[in-house]
């Protein structure tokens, strides 16, 4: 067996007490596309950052051409011929394509001035190597994201990259742009470059990859030739966990339909139809970027609807502002509690009371004693200590902050509660408490819609699952017998009979 181009052995990375990578292996041959797959948090990006020289590994070896190398900085990575194409492009949009390609190594005339002619000629040559006919005089920002990505690849190739890492490269691309990218990848493979392809999308991995490696929770699960694997094999390797009693709850009996959305559509998502029943917990599953948060925001009036109707208990709800949706009986706990949920400097009391002041005022004047009593009641229900009531909310831990946001909506007593990633960044104890509250709310007749990227959680706490992909609900299933494999198959599109070439954003 020939020595691979790049080999990683026993690479480990620790962030504080958590292990992001535990002794993982990975190897790459010249002229192959090697897909790296795993759920969010599996350690793919950490590995990539180590290769890029942005993060230092704690243990393990990086071997290139049979020799051990050290990568301490992005400069080192370039010197060894390793180039990374990030999800967020690393370019200057206001400068021209040629200027971007020459960035940091601009050619100079003998008077020390910028040599524009050579810069343009160099740019044409570099673009030619990736078979692109982009005009190098155009400002980079005027190009489509796909073409900008191509410029980045051209830059990488011009630096004689022998290893090219692509991190979710098609996430922002249209179908046509993705096709162009596939062709470039094909050409580079023929030129003997080794490509690491990080992606969630089963169908494109199946189209491009020679081999597939799967990581899970920072550990190496396995590697196989694509031709010897099936999509469900890979999904099984990616999830591989069992649902423990963390999610245990007694069976619930859903009541009548309280929320009914039809043809809900914005520029990013839709059309989406969905129903929520009282006494029911529904989870929206799907990959990041599949449009779950967008759907929630459309229902809640936080973003503008392009089309579609929402009926609540048969009455149409057309919120122009979240305040209208709240009046119609909807609550939403946003995804990012620091930025979207909390007033960090304000007291816990004010953070909890803010959405219910209408009920707690007479003639516009806040009934203060009553407000305090009501807030303390909800804090007790959330097991938040009452003497925290006057502290700034930023003094609380992540889990307690999340409970404060929940308390806000419990106080409001909305009939329909949307929770966007309610347990992200929350420790396991607070997680369990949040699950209990969700269960109790459903039992008291509320309709609950949870968005979760944590698959075992999504399946474990819900009665029904809505799987989203590319802005649409592609599958609805009861949670009772659902497996993570089922959900992943639909979320990635691997469940379709024929493997489509690429699924762009719904047109």
């Amino acid at each position: 067996m020939t020595e691979p181009l790049l080999r990683l052995e026993g690479v480990t990375k620790r962030y504080g007490a958590t292990l992001a990578l535990t002794e993982v292996h990975f190897d790459l041959k010249a002229g192959e596309v090697h897909a790296l797959m795993g759920e969010n948090g599996a350690g793919k990006s950490t590995l990539m950052k180590i290769l890029a020289g942005n993060v230092a590994r704690d243990a393990g070896r990086i071997i290139m051409d049979g020799r051990e190398i050290e990568i301490h900085s992005p400069r080192d990575a370039t010197v060894h011929g390793i180039a990374i194409i990030h999800q967020e492009l690393n370019t200057v949009p206001d400068m021209t394509v040629a200027e971007n390609l020459a960035l940091g190594q601009e050619p100079r005339t003998r008077f020390g001035l910028l040599d524009r002619h050579r810069m343009l000629a160099d740019a044409r040559e570099k673009l030619g190597r990736v078979h692109s006919n982009i005009d190098p005089r155009r400002p980079l920002g005027s190009l489509s994201v796909g073409m900008q990505q191509m410029v980045e690849i051209a830059r990488a190739v011009s630096e004689n990259a022998r290893v090219l890492v692509l991190d979710e490269p098609t996430a922002a691309l249209s179908r046509g742009e993705a096709q162009e990218l596939y062709q470039i990848i094909e050409k580079m493979r023929r030129d003997g470059v080794g490509l690491v392809y990080i992606s969630h999308r089963m169908e494109e991995v199946w189209q491009l990859a020679d081999r597939i490696t799967v990581f899970r929770d920072g550990t190496y699960v396995g590697t196989g030739l694509k031709d010897e694997l099936s999509p469900s094999d890979v999904v099984g390797m990616m999830v591989g966990r069992s649902i423990d009693d963390l999610y245990h709850h007694e069976p619930r009996t859903p009541g009548k339909v309280v929320l009914e959305a039809e043809g809900l559509e914005s520029d990013a998502v839709g059309p989406v139809d969905l129903q929520l029943r009282s006494g029911e917990v529904v989870c929206m599953a799907g990959l990041i970027g599949s449009g779950r948060t967008e759907v929630a925001r459309l229902i809640f009036g936080a973003d503008r609807r392009r089309a579609g109707t929402v009926r609540i208990n048969g009455r149409e709800s057309q919120p122009a502002d979240p305040a209208d949706a709240i009046r119609d009986g909807i609550a939403m706990v946003p995804e990012d509690r620091k930025v979207q949920g909390l007033f960090q400097d304000h007291s816990v009391e004010n953070n909890i009371a803010i959405s219910s002041l209408g009920k707690l005022t007479s003639g516009g004047v806040v009934r203060r004693a009553e407000t305090r009593t009501a807030v303390l009641g909800q804090m007790k229900r959330m097991r938040l200590r009452s003497n925290a009531v006057d502290l700034p909310v930023k003094a609380l831990s992540g889990g307690n902050q999340q409970k404060a946001v929940l308390a806000r909506w419990l106080l409001r007593d909305s009939d329909i509660i949307i929770l966007d990633e309610p347990t992200r960044g929350v420790d396991i104890g607070a997680k369990r408490e949040i699950y209990e509250i969700i269960d109790a709310l459903a039992r008291s007749g509320k309709a609950i819609l949870v968005i979760s990227s944590d698959l075992p959680e999504a399946i474990g706490i819900s009665d029904r699952l809505l799987v989203m992909r590319s802005g649409r609900i592609v599958q609805e299933m009861p949670s009772r017998n659902a497996t993570e494999e089922d959900v992943m198959l639909h979320a990635t599109g691997a469940g379709s009979r024929t493997v489509p070439t690429h699924t762009g954003v719904a047109s």
């Binding site: 809640f300 936080a302 502002d321 979240p322 305040a323 709240i326 009046r327 939403m332 946003p334 930025v339 979207q340 949920g341 909390l342 007033f343 960090q344 400097d345 304000h346 004010n350 009371a353 803010i354 959405s355 002041l357 209408g358 005022t361 516009g364 004047v365 806040v366 203060r368 097991r383 938040l384 200590r385 003497n387 925290a388 502290l391 700034p392 930023k394 003094a395 609380l396 831990s397 889990g399 307690n400 409970k403 806000r408 420790d427 104890g429 607070a430 408490e433």
Partner: protein, 339 residues
């Protein structure tokens, strides 16, 4: 496990002497008391009741402007146009009174004009999402031009101005502007501290995005605070006109900066969400006492400006340094509460 960390933060709260908290409560008041003590010691006539009432009257216009501006700054906005609103509303009220409109109506008209200017500022800021600094810089210039246009560049002197008592009169021995100032602060305090609306003002300044998702109608609140600032400026303009018994197109020039200084001196954060109306009152008084005291001490005008500038920077610097406790606390306990 979860109760532990609340206890931990509470322990931190109690531990030792917390300069930040202490300064927030009484710091600015101590500066004021020290200043008054200093002035009484140096300037012989400072402590006389008539002098104190004079000081109160002289600060009332700036204090009323600053009260309105506090609402705007609490939402994270800024209003540079209040000085020009003083001129426009004063001019409108005087012209109306001269034209025979009854005094109370002329006064109300002045305030309504101020509020209307505020509505323009607020609507442009909230609904077109323009930067308030730029919007109010524009209206500041426009409204100054409007005041000149109405008066054709000349002061309109109205020696028998029907509402001149508003600036020069006394009620129960107290100058009318001082009573108006007291009323404005009482109302502002009640609104900010006791009402639904007041909490929403703080929420918008604390985190506009979170406020919107919590059901606060952010655009309406934003518009309304500029209307309040405009109405306050309108009242200040009418008082000014009454005080000088004429319509002055140059009235209020530069007042916006004194008002901003008073708000910031009073501890309100320019980033929004934090501050107290009572602080603004104390800030206005400090600036007023300083000016009057320096005049009584025969300090030349140019030197007065130097001292005023230093005081503003000093007060704001303390306010900013208070969040770095290791500068003030003894011992190694520099753990920040938000850590």
């Amino acid at each position: 496990m979860n109760t532990q960390d609340s206890t931990a933060s509470l322990a931190l709260e109690k531990e030792g002497f917390d300069f930040a908290k202490w300064w927030d409560r009484v710091g600015i008041l101590i500066v004021l008391v020290a200043l008054i003590a200093l002035m009484s010691a140096i300037a012989p006539n400072f402590n006389r009741v008539d002098n104190l009432l004079n000081i109160a009257r002289s600060i009332s216009i700036n204090a009323i402007l600053a009260a309105g501006l506090t609402f705007v700054i609490l939402t994270g906005g800024i209003d540079l146009s209040v000085g020009s609103i003083v001129a426009v509303s004063g001019v409108v009220a005087v012209v109306a009174a001269v034209a025979g409109i009854p005094a109370p109506l002329a006064i109300v008209l002045g305030m309504v004009v101020g509020a209307a200017c505020g509505l323009v500022n607020g609507a442009l800021t909230a609904y077109l999402a323009l930067a308030p600094f730029i919007v109010t810089l524009g209206t500041m210039t426009f409204l100054r031009g409007l005041a000149y246009t109405i008066t054709e560049g000349q002061p309109i002197v109205a020696s028998d101005l029907s509402f001149k008592d508003l600036g020069n009169g006394y009620l129960l021995g107290i100058p009318v502007p001082v009573l108006l100032m007291a009323a404005v602060y009482l109302i502002a305090w009640f609104i900010l501290e006791r009402t639904h609306y007041g909490r929403h003002v703080y929420a918008v300044g604390g985190n506009a995005q979170a406020a919107r998702l919590a059901g606060v109608r952010v655009n309406r609140i934003t518009t309304s605070v500029y209307i309040i600032a405009g109405a306050c400026a309108g009242l200040a303009g009418v008082i000014f006109a009454a005080r000088v018994i004429s319509a002055q197109p140059t009235a209020g020039t530069g007042y916006e900066l004194d008002a901003i200084a008073a708000v910031v001196l009073g501890g309100t954060s320019l980033a929004g969400g934090r501050g107290r109306i009572i602080g603004t009152l104390i800030g206005s008084v400090i600036l007023g006492v300083l000016s009057t005291g320096l005049v009584l001490m025969n300090v030349p005008f140019f030197t007065q400006l130097l001292i005023k500038g230093i005081v503003i920077i000093f007060a704001v610097a303390i306010d900013s340094l208070k969040t770095r406790p290791w500068l003030f606390r003894s011992g190694a306990k520099s753990a920040r509460r938000d850590a």
